[in-house]
């Protein structure tokens, strides 16, 4: 088990290295960074000084090693547009994005699993068919449209919820949270739903399909022949067997939720990393873009690792094969 985890960790480091190369090469190929910083009438001598101060006159391999060593310590250089360290900018925005992503995922998991189980068990009821229809809408409507529709309905027409921002936040050390204030919670609702709706419908459809599959298996029939209660069969035996694919999808989707919160954050002007990234793209702020790329890959790689480990927690058969393989 430990060997398995270590091997996966080494693979993860390999992936991060490859991403690092791509992030670094952005500096080389997306124009001359000095031009982004200085104004047009800066003299060549001054340019050279800026170039030297940023270490851009060193040989490429040296720059690469330095970039990598810095990145490993979460130093990503200085943002061209804000003139602040990128790591400070990111860590300031990260709580907002993570909080949103976690709320969206929890929303997606809870409602996705509940609706999925319901529509598998009561396949022919009106409500189950309604869920199916709604899930089709959730899968096919683009995120920004859902966000705008929600804003129109709940913020503009009904005036129940704020249309943008995070509301009041409380500082806990370097972390800021909106979960502890009423306005913060209210501000979270619509972005979470907007961001989580696609994952929710995905999980719901997955749970439904898996559940129907599992309910046909022999061990469910045998569990019924043993006279177990319907409750125990459905929620103890059947649901647990549907969880493996759900964990996979929910885990991988969590990465996408963070990475693609860009749209939701833009629609709701959510002060997170996604919004920062969009602004960085507009201003060709390469240090932020590169750092964002690294961050998102780190999150993806970590999630993959966690999902792999979670499998073995749920399914004892994998524990055995994993143990044997190592």
């Amino acid at each position: 088990m430990l060997a398995f985890t270590l091997r996966r960790a080494v693979q993860a480091i390999g992936v991060m290295f490859a991403v690092g190369i791509i992030a670094f090469s952005m500096f080389r190929f997306a124009g001359d960074p000095v031009n982004q910083i200085v104004s047009i009438d800066t003299s060549a001598a001054e340019r050279a000084i800026v170039r030297k101060s940023l270490g851009l006159d060193d040989p490429v391999p040296v720059q690469f090693v330095r970039y990598f060593a810095d990145a490993a310590q979460f130093k990503f250089g200085v943002s061209y547009q804000f003139r602040q360290p990128v790591s400070a900018l990111l860590s300031e925005r990260m709580p907002a994005t993570l909080e949103l992503a976690i709320c969206a995922t929890v929303f997606a998991m809870v409602f996705g699993i509940l609706m999925g189980v319901y529509s598998a068990l009561k396949r022919d009821t009106v409500l189950a068919k309604l869920f199916q229809a709604v899930s089709l809408i959730g899968i096919s409507l683009p995120t920004f449209l859902i966000g705008i529709l929600l804003i129109y309905l709940f913020a503009v027409t009904l005036g129940w919820l704020p249309s943008f921002g995070r509301g009041e936040v409380v500082k806990l050390g370097w972390w800021t949270t909106g979960l502890l204030t009423l306005s913060g919670l209210k501000a979270l609702i619509m972005p979470s739903i907007t961001l989580g709706l696609f994952q929710m419908t995905l999980i719901m459809r997955l749970v439904r399909a898996e559940m129907l599959e599992v309910l046909r298996t022999d061990y469910i029939r045998f569990a019924r022949a043993r006279g177990l209660t319907t409750r125990a069969i459905h929620f103890g035996h059947a649901l647990k067997n549907t969880l493996i694919p759900v964990i996979t999808v929910a885990g991988l989707q969590f990465g996408s939720v963070i990475a693609f919160s860009i749209i939701t954050e833009t629609v709701f002007q959510w002060p997170g990393m996604g919004l920062l990234f969009v602004q960085a793209v507009q201003n060709v702020d390469i240090p932020i873009m590169a750092a964002y790329l690294l961050m998102v890959s780190l999150i993806f790689v970590t999630i993959n690792l966690v999902v792999d480990i979670l499998y073995t927690v749920v399914d004892p058969r994998l524990r055995a094969t994993v143990g044997r393989a190592t």
Binding site: R221, F222, A225, R226, G227, V314, D315
Partner: protein, 328 residues
């Protein structure tokens, strides 16, 4: 005579399909006494398994019990509300399925599955149920049960898993065990062990056993009585020696004749010509008539009813010496 543990009378099971209603079980009647093993034999699709599922109340829609009665120790169980029937399953009727590899939930320890079943039916504490589970595993012949109880199903071999399945079926001391092809998926050497285990358990606990199989060898070895099923009906039922040595129904004769012997190695294997009709196309009269060498006119129009014949009972016009009118 004491009341039979299981009494099935004129059972009918139907499946609604797009092309009309199919009758999978038609007018099946039999009894099983305490401690008795009834073998149910027949080709695939003859309705053996469906009969077993009907008794334990696990016929799923679109199937349904369309008629007849099932009584367990005198109590009618075919029309019980679902929750009451659930209490009967596992507690008073235990069931063993064909494939032990897929009968156990792969994600739970076998011990947890046994404890769960015990605690569903008996009012025992967690630790008492666990002790009972260890005893049960020992009883079905699993070595070192106190260790194996914490194993997962994939850590057991096929034969061992079938023993676990049997332990699960008997964990609440049921009056009746339905074993649906319990040995079909196992190695021949393991088959004999499982068969003798079922037989021993039936004897030790006075449990009635309904053994569904298509293996005449298994029936001959285990059963007290045997029912031969064909196209959803009982063709012949009687003590196992009589039916094996002196089958009456032409189909039973064919079935017994088709058992290969070790002695005659030069002979071609005997087979019954033709195949069993599909449920949607059961012939008029006796359902066996198109394949029967002795069929005469009456077989093609009138359905034979079971006739007592010594200890046996046979549904065949050959044994009905009286004309149909006066027999009624």
């Amino acid at each position: 005579m004491t009341e039979p543990v299981l009494s099935v009378r004129n059972l009918q099971v139907e499946f609604a399909s797009r092309r009309g209603t199919l009758r999978a079980i038609d007018d099946v009647s039999f009894d099983i006494a305490k401690g008795e093993v009834l073998g149910v034999v027949g080709e695939s699709g003859a309705g053996k398994s469906v009969t077993g599922l009907a008794v334990i109340g696990l016929i799923d829609p679109p199937g349904r019990i369309a008629g007849g009665e099932i009584r367990l120790a005198g109590m009618r169980i075919d029309n019980l509300p679902p929750e009451d029937m659930r209490r009967v399953r596992g507690k008073r009727i235990g069931m063993i399925f064909q494939d032990p590899l897929t009968s156990l939930n792969p994600l739970y320890k076998v011990g947890d599955q046994i404890v769960e079943t015990i605690r569903t039916h008996l009012n025992l504490s967690e630790s008492a149920a666990r002790r009972r589970a260890i005893d049960l595993l020992a009883e079905v012949g699993i070595p070192a049960p106190e260790k194996r109880i914490d194993g997962y199903p994939h850590e057991f071999s096929g034969g061992m898993r079938q023993r676990v399945v049997i332990a699960l079926a008997i964990c609440a001391e049921p009056e009746l065990i339905i074993a649906d092809e319990p040995t079909t998926a196992l190695d021949v050497s393991v088959q004999a062990q499982i068969i003798s285990l079922i037989k021993r358990l039936g004897r030790d606990h006075g449990t009635a056993v309904m053994l569904v199989t298509h293996d005449m060898g298994v029936i001959a070895e285990t059963s007290d009585r045997v029912a031969v099923m064909y196209a959803g009906r009982v063709a012949e039922i009687g003590p196992v020696q009589d039916v094996v040595k002196n089958p009456l129904h032409p189909y039973a004769k064919g079935l017994m004749g088709a058992i290969p012997t070790l002695a005659g190695e030069d002979k071609r294997l005997v087979q019954i010509p033709g195949s069993m009709p599909r449920l949607s196309a059961i012939p008029r009269g006796c359902s066996f008539n198109p394949r029967c060498a002795f069929a005469f006119d009456r077989c093609r129009v009138e359905r034979p009813e079971p006739l007592p014949r010594g200890a046996q009972s046979v549904a065949c016009h050959l044994y009905d010496t009286m004309p149909a009118e006066s027999a009624a």
